[in-house]
Amino acid sequence: MSDTQTLSAGLRSTPPVDPTWCPGCGNFPILKSFDKALDAAGLDRRKVVLVSGIGQAAKLPHYVTKPVNVFNGLHGRAVPPATAIKLANHELEVIITSGDGDMYGEGGNHLLHAMRRNVGVKAFVHNNQIYALTKGQASPTSDAGTPTKLQSYGVINLAFNPIAAAISQQCSFVARTFAGLPDHMEQVMLAALQHRGGFALVDILQPCVTFNKLNTYKWYKDRVRPLEDSYDPFDRAAALAKAFMWGDEIPIGIIYRNDRVSYESQLPVLKDGPLVSRV
């Protein structure tokens, strides 16, 4: 290995935990509510592992106020390591925080089969309906017509519907919240963290102030509708009806759940304690 050969300026990195997000980014309120939900859930941070892919959202694990374990993997590939970390040591609390391009685009197959497998991992998806870190290409959830540098005619593909997809595969916990409603976010995140029945998906509507000029804070504020108190998330048909509501009214809250049992709780090889204790 030859000697060091850096620009004489000795470019020092910005302090490690200073968020590189744009001022006003929806990721900031999500980080705040997330930190509060972690505390509210009374989790021992030494047993918490935050797993993420690549994108602006996926940087969150580096910015949480109190230290946690972090596995910042590849773009679209947060779900498989998170699944394996939980199976290797099911006493750990494994939480994924990543973007919509990461979880619904590059990582779509892993999400689909994670819902079938139902390992007790929580997936918080920062859905800003755009690829922000790579400067504004369409994401699977971009609304039809969204103009981008890459989609010369505006987005033609029909937006991916994560809530309906999750319910179609009987995902054990399906919720949506909005970065503009911190309390709502915290409640939904806490419910997800306390969910014991396997895989939990929380789609978090997150304005990207720099690249997504369509779905702004105002755009969401005018449309999000917290679920009515009488709503029963165990009613699949009702949940599916809510899942297809987008545009004028966007339902938020715990949209669907069922009483499936987690994968790890059914594996005989884990009945005598975590795998990591058997090495």
Partner: protein, 554 residues
């Protein structure tokens, strides 16, 4: 003195069952044996064959031609009667000139009322024809069908005896080798690798089925209870390799099993393991490519991909066992090197080795996990990527007092993302320093044959057996040939290699690929420049005779 028995027919005709029966029965009478399988990519029909070579001395490779062909279909007879030894015999499930006719299924139907036991009849006929006491076969049937109850055992035994009886008149026509000191422990490639992994401490296997690696995956699944191994069928190979990275981060030794096409999907996650400095074992069971290629054939075409696939630069080690005891040892060694240097490590096998059965001294089944080298003392001030002289940082796992941060971006010692280019240089140097440690611990190549031989064969992995037998055959003719075999093909330590090469006047690298991949890797290190290449890439393994033919000795 050795006899090559070839049982051939269509997929679904019970070749595998008959072959496995004979292999175990021959081992029980202390013959030396080596069996190999050649089958097509289909579940029914076509032409498959199961070769069993028996002898009174150690065997290391299959043979091209058969002394005894058991043809269960007419296609088998037509295709394979051209590959017989001079006084070879043919038992045929039909009428054909120059063959011994036994209608296996009819005999079984008559004797045991069940045509499916035709394979016991065939096994009995082979035993009888070779002059061995069919009782040994019957005894083995007793053990193998123990759970299936007495009736099944007695019926199978009757079929076996009938088979022997039908050929009694021809018994002794073939000079059968006597059993002597052959081991009664029969290993196969898949279970040798699997047992090495289980005893070495592997607790998590994530993989996607793909021949010829599925046999290893099935073995691991069968060991779930005994060695507490969690085996997970992933939705695709990308998930499989990324899962292995997650499991080993969490503290359990993890592996994935795949073949060339599946590995090509794992390449991004291989680079992840390199960047996060995670010990991951990749069992790569090779088959001929490109793309889907020949799914059930053998080859050594994926050495370059194992060595150079994966963006960016990070250390890795590649083992390639030459035979069955080595498949067990190499797997354990690979696990230890992976954990010592916190890097991805390969064990390269192929269809020929995975399906090979051979009786060898018993492999030790006791659970003796390798040293995971996990730092259980790390506290809250722990940093995952501490810069050290060896390049290896103390590795803690999540759940203890330490917070363990790993990141696929370039990162600083704490594991946080960095874009500080001076830190970048230190991290590249640190990761690559681990590779230097691996060089120092590289397994030296093993030499076989006359030390002073001027012509040296160089081979790696499963071609060892054919080359070794060629050396022996030439020695019998007073011609000296040397053999240098590599069971670790990366990293190479030139100091262990140059002494073997220097004064030879002819070097030939023997490989199961067309472009001479190992020859190029040697050349890259300035070794064996100008060596010839003996290349086979038709999907079949080398045999001693093929090596001799290529050297111009046949």
């Amino acid at each position: 003195m050795d006899i090559n028995i070839r049982i051939a027919g269509e997929a679904g005709q019970g070749l595998q069952t008959a072959g496995d029966l004979l292999v175990e029965a021959f081992a029980s009478i202390r013959l030396h044996l080596l069996s190999t399988q050649s089958y097509m990519s289909r579940i029914r029909g076509g032409l498959n064959w199961y070769d069993i070579r028996i002898s009174d001395h150690e065997l290391f490779a299959p043979r091209d031609d058969a002394d005894l062909l058991v043809a269960l279909s007419d296609n088998a007879l037509q295709e394979l009667r051209g590959s017989m030894m001079p006084e070879g015999l043919i038992i045929y499930d039909g009428e054909a000139e120059g063959t011994l006719t036994i209608h296996f299924d009819d005999v079984a139907k008559k004797v045991a009322g069940n045509a499916i036991m035709g394979n016991a009849v065939a096994a009995g006929a082979v035993f009888g024809l070779l002059g061995y006491d069919v009782q040994h076969l019957v005894d083995y049937l007793g053990t193998v069908f123990k759970q299936k109850g007495e009736e099944i055992i007695t019926k199978n035994a009757a079929c076996a005896r009938k088979g022997a009886e039908l050929v009694a008149s021809k018994s002794g026509l073939l000079k059968a080798p006597p059993g002597n000191d052959g081991s009664d422990y029969v290993a196969d490639g898949a279970s040798a690798v699997g047992l090495g992994a289980c005893t070495g401490g592997v607790k998590f296997v994530s993989a996607y089925p793909m021949s010829p690696s599925t046999a290893v995956l099935n073995y691991m699944a069968s060991m779930t209870e005994h060695y507490s191994v969690l085996v997970e069928q992933a939705e695709d190979e990308i998930a499989a390799m990324n899962m292995a990275c997650g499991a080993t981060y969490a503290g359990v030794p993890a592996m994935t099993t795949t073949s060339g096409g599946g590995f090509s999907l794992m390449v991004e996650a291989l680079s992840l393991a390199g960047m996060l400095e995670l010990p991951v074992l990749v069992l790569l069971a090779m088959r001929p490519g490109p793309a889907t290629g020949l799914p059930t054939r053998t080859g050594q075409e994926d050495l370059f991909p194992a060595l150079h696939a994966g963006h960016g630069e990070f250390p890795r080690a590649i083992f390639a066992p030459g035979g069955l005891p080595e498949a067990y040892d190499c797997t354990r060694q690979a696990l230890q090197i992976a954990h010592k240097y916190q890097s991805p490590v390969f064990v390269l096998v192929d269809q020929y080795l995975v399906d090979m059965h051979r009786n060898i001294p018993p492999l030790d089944p006791t659970y003796r996990p390798i040293d995971l080298m996990i730092d259980r003392t790390a506290g809250p001030d722990y940093v995952r990527y501490a810069l050290t002289e060896s390049g290896v940082s103390p590795r803690a796992i999540p759940g203890g007092e330490a917070f363990v941060l790993v990141d696929s971006d370039e990162h600083n010692e704490e594991g946080h993302v960095t874009e500080d280019l001076s830190v970048r240089v230190k991290m590249v140097d640190k990761r690559l320093r681990k590779g230097e440690g691996m060089v120092a611990e590289a397994l030296p190549p093993t030499y076989y044959g006359a030390p002073e031989a001027e012509h040296l064969l160089i081979c790696w992995g499963s071609t060892y057996g054919a080359c070794r037998e060629a050396v022996d055959l030439l020695a019998e003719r007073g011609q000296s040939l040397g053999l240098l075999h590599f069971s670790q093909v990366w990293p190479l330590n030139p100091d262990q290699i140059t002494p073997h090469l220097q004064w030879r006047d002819r070097l030939t690298v023997v490989e199961g690929n067309a472009t001479g991949q190992f020859r190029s890797i040697l050349a890259m290190q300035g070794l064996a420049m100008g060596a010839e290449l003996m290349a086979r890439y038709d999907g079949m393994p080398f045999t001693a005779r093929e090596v001799m033919r290529r050297l111009g000795h046949e």
